[in-house]
Symmetry: C2
């Protein structure tokens, strides 16, 4: 049974890419076959896994707009069981091109349907907006994982995001649900972080993952080496937190 | 003479809103009449200046889509010489609605033209994307200020952003130029920050502002009180850096 999770939050810089990439790496390390799907034109998930977006002949753009079968676009990474549907610069124009296509919100779901049984997990990294690329990610997904940065401004957009998720569930994808909210970049030295965590836990109760990802400079260094934290610095606080998150997710999925 | 600056970078969470709001506050404190324009559906600039996005009857959505004259939409803030063209949730649907409108890229420029002489500075905060709202901001602006977070992933998107700026200059707004790149969230404890600064200075030379904004928790606390840093904690490292940035910008503008 394949589980497809979208990582979505229109607030920028909250840890969508970092979570998709590192969760993917830990899931693969525990024997799960994983596909990371990058539908962000910035292609940060692609470069975080060591691939150069400008050297790719095919990308998620081709799977979405030119109906190229996914198995021709997917590339391996250096890590066993971890594959990638890469992004590339042409994706920047995709949203405007998609507006007039038939069933434009279903393009990604259809593209992934031909390969999804090969994987235990498909993790979709989306851009910081609620446009057609993110709507495609939400329509293709079973569940949404929402990274929430432990900052005040990150709280402001949650209502908007949940409204969009409900709209997609009611009109495009009835199985979509919120798999959980993951608190990220927690800075124990500040009162602000614990206030934001308390606020989110008050509102969303048990839909907030117990694991909290701390702010850890090693996490932001890893992408410059094209490696997940598991490979770059497995003993860092960021690595241990994503490992714990992976265990929490696997345990919760097993109980469903 | 009115100077219109857009704050743009499709990478999320790099300090676009924080820079537009705090530069605006220091410019106003030095006697310049300032309008902050919020064309991000997240409305973070609006809430950072103490206004509640859900209580507003008119917003930038109305100025763009319903041609409501700007002087009916602009609201005062608590600070003298600092006014706001607020954002509100309807703006989230604007990009799709704009696709089929005539001269869709010029909507903001036209809206602002009726009020611009009243201000010395107009600062436009844009969303983390290169869609129609950001293109409108770039078409309305004289110059672009690019906040660049001192992180590896923030480097990746600069080439794409500069390509888009050139496209807008060549097709929509011939006066558009890069006013400068502002390094933000510099963390002196890490090697990564100084490496990123060195890399950006190597590529962009004197287009990089000399002022570097440090990572300062007080900057991320201020929005929860609806205040710029000038009002919240004027002696903090973040406040002093934005004050210095304001001086550097004024001095540079005076010499042009
Ligand atoms: N826990 C963490 N500690 C420190 N730095 C982090 C952490 N998580 C992410 N980062 C860094 O913060 C920045 C933002 O994270 P990331 O790019 O994953 O967010 P995002 O939500 O995907 O951004 P965007 O909205 O642009 O897609 C990156 O430079 C990343 O390396
Ligand atoms: N120099 C700084 N030091 C510490 N925190 C900062 C600094 N600048 C901004 N922040 C905080 O970092 C987060 C991201 O900043 P901000 O929201 O201004 O970025 P943005 O580019 O406008 O984001 P978006 O892409 O979502 O519009 C916010 O929570 C903000 O309060
Ligand atoms: Mg990302
Ligand atoms: Mg912003």
């Amino acid at each position: 049974m394949t589980r497809i999770y979208a990582f979505a939050n229109q607030k920028g810089g909250v840890g969508k890419t970092t979570t998709a990439v590192n969760l993917g790496a830990y899931l693969a390390a525990s024997g799960q076959r994983v596909l990371v799907v990058d539908v962000d034109p910035q292609a940060n998930a692609t470069s975080s896994l060591g691939l150069a977006k400008n050297n790719l002949s095919l990308s998620s753009y081709d799977a979405l707009i030119n109906q190229v079968p996914c198995d021709q676009v997917v590339v391996p990474t250096k890590w066993q069981y971890l594959e990638l549907l890469p992004s590339a610069p042409p994706l920047a124009g995709a949203e405007v091109e998609m507006v007039s296509l038939l069933a434009r919100e279903h393009l990604l779901r259809k593209a992934l349907s031909s390969i999804s049984e090969r994987y235990h997990y498909i993790l979709i990294d989306s851009p910081p907006s609620l446009g057609l690329l993110t709507v495609n990610a939400l329509t293709a997904a079973d569940g949404v994982i929402i990274p929430v940065q432990c900052e005040y401004l990150a709280l402001e957009g949650l209502a908007e995001l949940l409204r969009t998720i409900m709209l997609v569930r009611d009109n495009l994808n009835p199985r979509l649900y919120v798999r959980g909210l993951l608190m990220t970049m927690y800075d124990g030295r500040t009162r602000l972080s614990s206030q934001v965590v308390a606020e989110v836990q008050r509102h969303f109760k048990d839909r907030v993952f117990r694991t909290i990802i701390p702010r850890s400079i090693r996490l932001s260094e890893a992408p410059s080496y094209g490696e997940p934290i598991l490979a770059y610095d497995p003993d860092s606080s960021g690595a241990l937190a994503y490992q714990a998150f992976c265990q929490e997710l696997l345990k919760g999925d097993a109980e469903m």
